[in-house]
Amino acid sequence: MILEEPWRKKLARSFSMSTALGPLVVLIIIFLLFSATVPNFLTFRSVTGIINAITLTGTLTVGVTMLMISGEFDLSVGSIMAVGGYIYGALTMAQQPALGLILALVVPALLGMVNGLILVWTGIPSFIVTLGTKYLFRGLLWVVTAGTMLQTIDRPMIYNLFNGRLDVVNKFLTGANFRSSLLWLLLLVAIFQFILVRTRFGNHVFAVGGNRGAALGQGVNVKFVKVMGFVITGALAGFTGILLFSQFYTVRVASGDGLELSAIAAAVVGGTLITGGAGSIWGALVGALIISMLRTGVVLMDIPYIPADNFEAIIGATIIAAAILNNYLRGQSS
């Protein structure tokens, strides 16, 4: 039986049922606004620029979003990404690409497991645990690498696999610069969105973040869900390191510092509840796109008194506006 409800409430309900719908509408509005008002915005060059700018943050936020839905934070992903970048870079330079790939996923996964195990063994909030390991992992990386930066002028095929130009597409679109990293990002988003909403594990992620006690009471293995979330997030951070080195052919100890916050920002703008229990991976992807688009739009607008490199203020305002909007939609629906 369907009860009659006012259309506004109905609309708000469908918005809150799918956390990504609101951000998607916002993305489209911003895109149309910029396209109509900002010179040079609606070009393949700037559109592919906006997309390429999110591949690293986007890949990181896949795991970060899943953890946030389960009620946890991971501030160490930027550091783990640098570790992955070094391992992959060093081994591809040593003509060991296969080993490089495997270890750049396995070692970061183990670092993620360290985060998860500290969390479930000590009960310290993950915000604090990963704030600690953020510095710890980077410190260890500095010790192992003696602080030296890794750089190569070689261009082995494997770099093309992760960041090659998609010339099949680009040659038809003037100025376009689509990269294979975008395909990897979309693949990961699709896989993890599926895991989240269509598998038992994903169901438990939502339950653990929504009401830990209820999940425990129904026999959900809460500790497994938490540790597994950190392992996956670590592996994805390692993969982001692979993308990073394939893109820039270089990695430093400080690489990726601050990206953990960009990943959280993307998740929040994309409708993920900071208290856990609600959110979506493709929403986070939309969130990352919104931030990247605002950045490009603001730079192109060339507003007086807002210099191009002061877009942090814009991002900050976006995060707060997104949180207010999400709260409003949620309030309307209940």
């Binding site: 309900r13 169901n203 438990h204 006690g213 209820a214 999940a215 425990l216 026999g219 959900v220």
Partner: protein, 256 residues
């Protein structure tokens, strides 16, 4: 209803015998006997801090008792986690801890017991089937829902209780433990929840109804166990005592 001599012992559906539990130097429970028969609603009454929740947590495997033994269907059992309790058929419905408000009715219904489809090593949730079974099962117990895909958070307190109860019944619980199920509900909602409880009882389940307010449980319960300061004050059958008598026993204003 059987009389006092013939029920409540090791052959009950659940029987907790001489349960004692200490936390450090504090005695939370001292030699408490408690149990429930199939097809019976047993009220567990006591003031705040009397030991009601400790006793139930011992039964659910949250706390191991210092001394005492639990019998289930006549057999001695050791229950060391809520999961084990649920596996043998003891289901607890806690007020705030039963459901995940941000998830749908059907996902809550099947939480921890999800139905999946397989293709090789890949498995995924059979959402359609879970929705159908959830709707049908709740309907059979007399619970009408708008849609199994609706979020639990948009339901009223009584509807949430009913879904948690319906879930327990559907998955074959033999004992249903309800913690203050009606204390936050309106009169109309309370009445509804009480009919679900009566329904579960008719199906042969043993229902343990925990409350500090005898008024909530007086009409629906078949028997009443009062505990005070961690001790069993007594067990009484329907009609033996008035509501006021029981209230006095709970507070200790009067002994019987």
């Amino acid at each position: 209803m059987a009389d006092k001599e013939h029920v409540h012992g090791r052959n009950s559906l659940v029987w907790m015998e001489k349960i004692s539990k200490k936390f450090g130097t504090i005695t939370a429970l001292q030699d408490v006997d408690f149990g429930v028969e199939g097809g019976e609603v047993r009220a567990l009454l006591g003031d705040n801090g009397a030991g009601k929740s400790t006793l139930i947590k011992v039964l659910m495997g949250v706390y191991p008792p210092n001394t005492g033994q639990i019998y289930f269907q006549g057999q001695p059992v050791k229950i060391s986690s809520p999961r084990e309790a649920r596996e043998i058929g003891i289901e607890a419905v806690y007020q705030d801890l039963a459901l995940v408000n941000l998830m749908s009715i059907s996902r809550n219904f099947f939480l921890g017991r999800e139905m999946v489809k397989h293709f090789g090593p890949v498995h995924w949730l059979d959402v359609h089937r879970m929705n159908e079974i959830c709707r049908k099962s709740l309907h059979d117990i007399g619970i009408a829902i708008r849609s199994p895909a609706e979020r639990v958070g948009s339901l009223s307190g009584g509807e949430r209780q009913s879904i948690a109860i319906g879930r327990g019944v559907h998955f074959g619980a033999k004992v249903l433990i309800l913690d203050e199920p009606t204390s936050a509900l309106s009169v109309a909602e309370t009445r509804k929840v009480l009919t679900y409880i009566a329904n579960a009882k008719e199906r042969g389940l043993g229902v343990i109804f925990i409350t500090h307010n005898v008024h909530h449980v007086y009409l629906v319960a078949d028997s009443y166990t009062v505990i005070r300061h961690g001790r069993n004050v007594g067990t009484y059958f329907k009609g033996e005592l008035t509501e006021d008598d029981i209230a006095d026993l709970i507070t200790g204003d009067r002994e019987v």
